[in-house]
């Protein structure tokens, strides 16, 4: 299983804070996972198409080509604004 988390605007716009997916072809990389989720409907496609969207795998910021394996935690979120 892949555990997927959403934060801030992304969480708010999707109306979901987390979900789980079976590991497989559609979750092979961070980008594949993004495309799998984007194919759900127009709203998901629009939110996940943002060029500012960031991705973290197992709590470390990473690139879109980062491989994902069973048991990983993947988070999608906008640029950070703390401090």
């Amino acid at each position: 299983m892949i555990n997927v988390l959403f934060f801030a605007q992304v969480r708010e716009l999707l109306g979901e804070s987390s979900l789980t997916l079976d590991a497989g072809e559609g979750t092979a990389t961070a980008d594949a996972l993004r495309q799998t989720l984007a194919s759900r409907n127009d709203k998901w496609a629009r939110v996940l198409a943002s060029d500012k969207l960031l991705v973290a795998v197992n709590q470390t910021l990473c690139h879109w080509h980062t491989p994902i394996k069973d048991g990983d935690e993947v988070a999608f979120f906008p640029p950070v604004t703390g401090g």
Partner: protein, 152 residues
Amino acid sequence: MSQDRILVQTADFSVPEEYQRIAADNQDGAVVTFVGKVRDFNEGNQVSDLTLEHYPGMTEKVLEQIADQARERWPLNHLTIIHRVGTMHLGEQIVFIGVSSAHRKAAFAACEFLIDFLKTKAPFWKLETSDKGQGWVEARDADDQAAKAWEQ
């Protein structure tokens, strides 16, 4: 085991107490602290409060990495980062950074490095309530440039 004090919490913090902790050693000639507060304006709007969201687990990890990077660059003794989450009203404290070192230049530089990196690398997001309603604060290019400047 790192001796850094890194906290993510809803509760407010006491600057005098945190200062005492950082300033405890006589080998340090310099203590630099920074406090970030909720201010009354942003992008021309009158702000009344802020809600800080974060990514539990990743936040602590990133703050520890930033602290380690500061220690690699400057000879620091005490190092504290406290970041609040949840809703904060106008004038309230959001973030505390404090460092001690033998000399002021290292302490000033490390404090500025820590806040520049925290603002651009740590997974915190600000949701602002103003006279125009509620909205997420946009990331600023100036903050990114400030963090990148340390990499040159």
